[in-house]
């Protein structure tokens, strides 16, 4: 690991091993250091991402040809265009792809992995508010993941990641697989709640002296808004999944129509959590975007307060729009109300995108890997957001609901949004987390493959979705074959891109050159300490004297002023705010 500095023995990097192998493992397993917990979350969520990715590739492989592809699993006879899997296996594949990606990767990834690592650093605090609770959240996450893994090993669940009743509460022999998966999701919910709670108290109570609410970096605003949603929405997922488990074990009948229950009530329960959950997924990605665009364009984020308050706006409005997932199941009055409110939720996201584009104006834009991912985010997230308008308006949603248009929309917003922002953030903060630089050239190759593969895979799905290709189909009518083939080939390019990134990161850990404390010239507090940071983050408690993005007035810490020239100071007051941009 990295060489430790030589002043008193406390200032050693957090990655410094504590004695032999077993001592180090035990230290990592019982650490309450937010940085170690963040790194553990990072590797666990990346593993979940690759596991989910494997299922995605299998799903795309099956859809390469309309009916059967290679082997018909049910009758074991080799058919030239046989089906890789029986329809039942295909259903398990897309369910597990959905469940793993949602519950094990995209919800915990940015808040738990990067949030845990960088929230205290960017606030100038020594640790999160409740470090022991933080470790407990990690073990709750591991237990929940273990339950889900048991369900997968037992054969996996074929109910779709939404577990819609009454399908999810029927069927006897996979009884225990669904119960294991729902218990796993129930436990994972607690990890999300406790992390959210921890972050809210940290932001309120542990800010560095001199850091007011509007001196905080925008990543912290986004994580704060995400934590509010995690605390207020996840319990309802808890009660939904608890009722599902009770439904299966004791045939309670609240959601089972044969016993008087109402399946639409289940959908309300489920989507009341799951729509705010999609904002749990995207808000941290937006937080990373503000950091990346600010630092790599060397420009103060345009409209800081607008971006900060739009995070809170998204968090607030996200609680009143869940009905747009159920336009075909709801009454007309409810659909009208939800459709109206859904158009409101589009505004804060649009404001953020406009502000990011405005930040590029008169900036000094360096096209390194993090910035490429940030600009890629602008491209894909804009498509994702704009296609949301089709789904918010009622008649077009009646046509497009449960088709591949929806699959493409949410992949553009989740994968094109959160996953690409996650990769951008990972490349941006990798030197700070591990003290190693990565090879810029190969990372850009990885980005190119990911970007092209992503767009090929999912843009073709927009086209076939608009033509009426329904979702979750193992065999489809022949007219959609060209689109599915293009999408499958795109998924191979995408997978190749992620493998290139994997090698770049592994290579950087093994043989990367030592990272300087501030490789990109950032002004937020995490760049003031060493990389990788010492055990207590800062040698002496930081005092905040300038805003997080004052690139025009402050030379970044640990940086040579020659590399980061400052524009001439303001003589005339020609640049008073409020003048139109010239």
């Amino acid at each position: 690991m990295s060489a430790s500095t030589h002043d008193d023995h406390h200032d050693v990097s957090y990655l410094h091993p504590k004695g032999g192998f077993f001592a180090t493992v035990w230290d990592w397993m019982t650490t309450i250091d937010h940085k170690k917990i963040g790194v553990m979350y990072l590797f666990a969520t990346l593993f979940a991402f690759f596991l989910g990715g494997v299922f995605a590739l299998l799903v795309r492989m099956e859809l390469f040809s309309p009916t059967k592809t290679i082997i018909d699993a049910v009758t074991e006879e080799t058919v030239v265009t046989g089906q890789i899997f029986s329809p039942d296996t295909y259903n398990r594949l897309f369910t597990l792809h959905g469940a793993i990606m949602v519950f094990l990767f995209i919800i915990p990834a940015i808040p738990a992995a990067m949030g845990n690592f960088f929230l205290p650093l960017m606030l100038g605090a020594k640790d999160v508010a409740f470090p022991r609770l933080n470790l407990m959240s990690w073990y709750i996450y591991v237990t929940g993941a273990a339950f889900s893994l048991i369900s997968i090993l037992l054969g996996g669940v074929d109910t779709g990641w939404t577990f819609y009743t009454p399908y999810s509460i029927q069927g006897d022999e996979e009884h225990w697989r669904v119960v294991f998966m729902t218990t796993g999701v129930f436990i994972l919910g607690f990890s999300s709640i406790l992390t959210g709670m921890n972050f809210i108290v940290t932001v309120h109570k542990l800010r560095a002296p001199g850091m007011g609410w509007f001196d905080m970096p925008l990543f912290i605003w986004a994580i704060y808004a995400t934590s509010i949603i995690q605390v207020l929405a996840t319990p309802v997922l808890g009660v939904t999944v608890l009722l599902l488990t009770v439904e299966r074990l004791f045939k309670v009948g609240i959601f089972d129509p044969a016993l008087g229950g109402d399946p639409v009530l289940y959908q309300h329960f489920f989507w009341f959590y799951s729509h705010p959950a999609v904002y749990i997924m995207i808000l941290p990605g937006m937080g990373i975007m503000s950091e990346l665009i600010g630092v790599h364009a060397r420009k103060k984020i345009f409209g800081y307060r607008a971006v900060a308050f739009s995070s809170l706006g998204i968090a607030a409005i996200s609680f009143i729009v869940w009905g747009h997932h159920m336009f075909t199941a709801q009454g007309e009055l409810a659909s009208a109300i939800f459709s109206f409110l859904t158009f409101l939720v589009a505004i804060p996201s649009a404001i953020k995108v406009f502000n990011w584009v405005a930040t590029l104006y008169k900036g000094s834009i360096a096209l390194n890997t993090p910035m490429c991912y940030a600009l890629g985010f602008l491209f894909t997230f804009s498509i994702g957001g704009l296609t949301g308008i089709f789904l918010g308006s009622l008649p077009t949603d009646l046509h497009l609901h449960d088709t591949y248009f929806i699959v493409a929309h949410f992949h553009y917003v989740m994968m094109g949004g959160t996953a690409i922002a996650f990769m951008g953030g990972l490349h941006h903060w990798w030197p700070k987390m591990f003290g190693k630089m990565y090879s810029e050239r190969w990372a850009l190759v990885g980005f190119a493959l990911v970007f092209i593969g992503f767009n090929v895979t999912f843009f073709s799905q927009f086209l076939m979705g608009a033509d009426g290709m329904p979702r979750r189909y193992a065999t489809y009518v022949d007219e959609f074959m060209p689109f599915h083939r293009a999408s499958t080939i795109g998924s191979w390019i995408l997978a190749l891109g992620f493998f290139v990134h994997l090698f770049v990161f592994v290579h950087s850990l093994i043989a990367g050159r030592k990272a300087p404390p501030n490789p990109w010239g950032g002004l937020t507090l995490e760049w003031t300490t060493d990389s990788p940071p010492i055990e207590h983050n800062f040698h002496h408690e930081p005092l905040v004297q300038h805003g997080p993005y004052d690139f025009d007035d402050v030379v970044p810490p640990h940086c040579d002023p020659a590399d980061y020239p400052l524009p001439e100071p303001i003589e005339s007051d020609s640049l008073k705010p409020g003048r139109t941009m010239h």
């Binding site: 129509p257 044969a258 104006y361 308008i389 008649p395 009426g468 640049l575 003048r579 941009m581």
Partner: protein
């Protein structure tokens, strides 16, 4: 390199075999909703393209113009501009809310059925649709799409049709892309939907859009639009009148009741066992017990299948509780007709009937 490209294109676009001519998609204008829906759809499309090109063009220009040059600092610029920020918040809001009212207006037309609609009862069950027309007619013709025989339902042209739908087991969703209509079908509850097919002679796909298990992707159908009088004639031909012999009726029910979704008429096994040769054969169950497949066994398996599951198969067969006696006997007769032992018994029964008929005739002759 060229050959590689050719295979790739060939791979991509090998001519798909199209069971329904005209295919499916936005180019198909199946119902009267299409004009209003497509106007809204393409308006949103071009609105999005406009904003997208504006944003991407602007950022591409900025990236190029303000790319980082060593030693050159970023120029100062205002970090916020309230009037600009207000405009780009209020203008999209106004556009979107205008869009809402237009969309809501179109939506209400699609959800309010006119009074004089032709009513059809639709039942969705695990992996088959069955439409029962007002005179009891049911579709008998089937078409093979996506590796599955699916029924062909007739619909009158230029006349509103109202579907009264319910499901017997899980949530399904009736989706006709060419009509731009979709609505969920719930167990234990009725939902209704209406459309008016605009052009006679066309055919359209019908899909199930709500995930409902392993047969979800094969739970399709084909809608055939007929002129009004052809439609009435079609309805007349497809009533299950009493003249049909049990085996013929059983054959029709095999298709219309969704048995073909899982059972084949030869011995190939799909989700369920193939029916050829099962009558009189030894049936082994998952709990190891065995029994010969006689009439009571077939009757109990149809009415209450979850009791015993055949070895090597999953317990997913829905129960047909409440099936009328005449249809039950017809289905059993049809199954019997598929196996040698069954055919002997059926022939034997026929001989008895003929013998009885002959005696009856002799009695009449002898009397007069």
């Amino acid at each position: 390199m060229i050959s590689l490209l050719n295979n790739l294109c060939g791979l991509l676009a090998s001519a798909p075999h199209v069971p329904v001519e005209g295919g499916v998609g936005l180019h198909r204008k199946g119902s009267t909703f299409v004009t209003q829906h497509d106007m809204l759809f393409w308006f949103i499309f071009w609105l999005s393209v406009f904003f997208f090109v504006l944003l991407m063009g602007l950022s591409a220009y900025f990236i190029f113009k303000y790319r980082r040059r060593p030693g050159v600092p970023a120029q100062r610029s205002a970090s916020h501009n309230t009037p600009l920020e207000l405009t780009w918040s209020v203008v999209p809001l106004v556009i979107l809310l205008g869009l809402f009212f237009w969309a809501f207006h179109v939506y209400m037309d699609m959800h309010m059925a006119p009074g004089d609609a032709e009513e059809i009862n639709v039942t969705a069950q695990k992996w088959a649709w069955s439409w029962v027309y007002d005179n009891g007619a049911e579709a008998q013709e089937t078409r093979r799409i996506a590796d599955q025989d699916v029924p062909v339902f007739a619909v009158p042209a230029d006349k509103p049709v109202r579907l009264i739908m319910h499901s017997t087991d899980v949530i399904h969703s009736l989706y006709v892309p060419d009509f731009r209509v979709k609505l969920d079908v719930f167990p234990m509850r009725y939902t209704t939907m209406w459309f008016e097919a605009s052009k006679a002679g066309e055919e359209h796909y019908l899909f199930c859009a709500e995930y409902c298990g392993s047969g979800h992707s094969q739970m399709g159908a084909v809608i055939k639009v007929l002129e009004m009088n052809d439609y009435l004639q079609w309805k007349q031909d497809n009533t299950l009148d009493d003249a049909l012999s049990p085996v013929e009726l059983g054959g029709i029910l095999y298709r219309t009741r969704g048995c073909n979704a899982c059972h084949a008429t030869d011995d190939r096994s799909g989700e369920g066992p193939g029916w050829a040769g099962i009558y009189g054969s030894e049936r082994r169950f998952t709990d190891g017990s065995t029994t010969t497949a006689d009439e009571n066994y077939l009757r109990s398996q149809i009415l209450d299948p979850s009791g015993r599951t055949l070895e090597g198969y999953r317990n997913v067969m829905p129960s047909y509780q409440g099936m009328p006696e005449r249809e039950l006997n017809a289905l059993i007769a049809f199954i019997k007709s598929l196996s040698a032992k069954g055919r002997e018994e059926l022939d034997a029964v026929e001989e008895e009937i003929e013998a009885a008929l002959e005696e009856a005739e002799e009695d009449e002759n002898s009397q007069d």
